[in-house]
Amino acid sequence: MSIDYALVQAINTLFYASILFLIASGLSLIYGIMRILNLAHGSFYMLGAYISYTAAMLWIGPTPAGFVAGFVLSLAFLAAVGALTERILIRPLYSKPSELQLLLTFALMIALDDVVKMIWGPEYKSFTKLPWGYMSIGHYSVPIYMLVVIASSTIIGLLLWWFFAKTTIGKQMRAAAYNPEIAAALGMNTDLLFVSAFALGSALSGFAGAMASPILTAYPGMGTDAIVLSFAVIVIGGMGSILGSVVGALIAAIARTVMVIVYPLLEVALIYIVMIIVLLVKPTGLFGKEIVERR
C-alpha cells in the first residue's frame, strides 16, 4: 500500500467522519438537552441534501456560488423546520409518555421520505460537477471539495464547543438540560431554549446533508441509514457530548474504511459490534456523563 493511497483513504475517511459528526452532533445535542430521540433527524439530513441539489444543480448551476447557496439555504430551511417541529408537533407531547415522542418522530420520518419523492421524484440525484476542482496525489485525484467539507466541519465543531462553553445562551441550554424546572425558576425562558436547541440540531443535520450529497448523492431513504449510524456514533462517543460525537464519528469512519479495504463482508457489521462493546464496557460512551432519565 503506497503512501499516496493511504493519504487518499485518509481524506475519504475524514470526509465521511465530518458528515457523520455533523449529523450526530445535532442528534446528540437534541437528546442531551431535551431527551428526545428524534427519528426524523435523518430525514432532515435528507432534506438538506435535496435542497442543496436544487440550489446547486437546478437554480444556480454547479458553481461555487451555487454550492454555497445550497449550504446556506439548507441550514436556514432546516433550522425553520426544526423549530416548527418542536413548537407545533413535539411540545404538546412533553407531558405524555416519552414513547409518544418517539412515535411521532417516526411518523414524521416515513412521511418525509414521500414528501421528497413527491417533489423530486424517486430516482437518485447526482451532482454532475464538483466546485473547486481536483488535486492530484500521486496518480490519484481527490476533489478539493472534500477538503472544504472537512475544514467546514472542523470549524463548526469548534464553534459548537465555544457556543456551549462560553456564550450565555449555550450555558443556559446546558442548565436547562440538567434541570428544566430550576432553570425556569431562575428566570430562563426554557421554551425558547428548547426551540432554539431543536432548531440548531436540525440545522446541523440539514447542513450535513447539503455537504454530503455532492459526493454521496441524494435519494429517498438516505435518512433511515443515516439516523441509525448516528445512533451508533453518539452511543460510542457519549450522548450529549460534542467531543464524543467527534470521536464517535472518527471511529465509525475509520472502521468503515478499514473494513472496506480489509474485509468488506464486515463493513456494515463492525460499527454495531463496536457499539455493543462500548455499551457493555462503558454505557455512557467514551466521553458521556450519566444521563439522568426524566419522568
Binding site: L37, L39, L89, P92, L93, K96, P97, E99, L100, L102, L103, L104, F106, A107, L108, M109, I110, A111, L112, D113, D114, V115, K117, M118, T224, V228, F231, A232, V235, M239, L265, L266, E267, V268, A269, Y272, I273, M275, I276, L279, L280, P283, I291, E293
Partner: protein, 316 residues
Amino acid sequence: MQRRIRVSTWIIDLYSVIGVIALLSVLPLFISSYYTRLVAVGILYGIAATGFNILFGYTGLLSFGHAMFWGLGGYIIAIGLIKLGLSFPLSVLLSLTILVLVALGAGYISLRHTEIYFAMLTLALSQLAYAIMLKWRSLTGGDEGLYGIPRPLGTITHYYYLILLVSLITLIVVWLVLRSPIGLAFQTIRDNPGRAETIGYNVRRLRLLSFLISGIVTGIAGIMYVPLEGAITPEALYWTFSAEIVFMALLGGTRAFLGPFIGGIVYVFIRDYAMDITEYWLFVMGVILAILVYILPDGVVGTIYARIARLQRLKR
C-alpha cells in the same frame, strides 16, 4: 387504583381473545382471498407486537430491536425449507431452537442495562443481525433475500386457519404466563425494580425470562409469515421494522392485553388503505399515525377499555 382495574380485566382479556379469534375464524367465509391474506398478515403483525409488549408493557423494557426475532425466525425457516430441504415441522423446530439461543444470548447482553441503554443495545444487536443476513450471501441470498418458499397446506385459506390456530395458542399461553406468579413478578419489576429486588425477586433472571418469551413470540410470528409471503428480504430485520412493531403495540394500546394484537391488524389495514388511494402511501400513513398519537395516546383498545371502566363507575 390502576392496579385494581388491571387485575379485574384478566377475565375480560380472555373473553376478548376468544371473541376476536372466533370473529377472525368466520371472516374468510365473507371476504376475498386478497383480504384473507391481508388479515393473516395483520394477525401475524399482531402476534409480533404482542410479543414485544410482554417486554415493554408488562416488564417495562423498551426493545428497539424486535425485528431481529421476526427476521431471524423468518430466515431460518426459509433456509430450512429451501436450502436444507427439511419438512415444515422440522424447519419450525430448527427455527425455534435457534431463536431460543439467540434470545438468551441477546437478552444476556442487552439486559446488562435498562432504559435508553437497553434500547440502544437491542438496536445494535438487531442491526448486527441485519448486517449478517445482508452479507451472508450463500445462505441468505444477500440483499435479494430468499424467495419461492413453499406454503404448507396449499391454499391461502387453509394456511390462514393454521395461522389462526397458532395465534390462538400463542395468545392463550402468553395470557397464562402473564397472570401467573411469574407474570405478576414481571409487572412488579416494571412498576418498581428496586422493590422487586428487595422482596427477593431475581430481577435480572426474570427480565431475561421475559426477554426470552417476548423474543420467541415475535419469532413465531416471523416463522409463520415467511411461508405466507413466500419470500423474505433483509428489510425484515432492518431497524425501521422494529420501530413499526413498537408502533403497532402503541397503536393498539400497551396497557391492554389484546391491544398490540389489534394494533397489528389495524396497522396493516391503514397501510393497505393508504397504498390503495395513492402511490405516496408512506406520506398518508405518516400523517394518519401522527394524528393517532395525539387523539388516541392510549391506543385503540386502551381507549375502549378506559371507556368501559368509566361506564362501570357511572353505573355503580
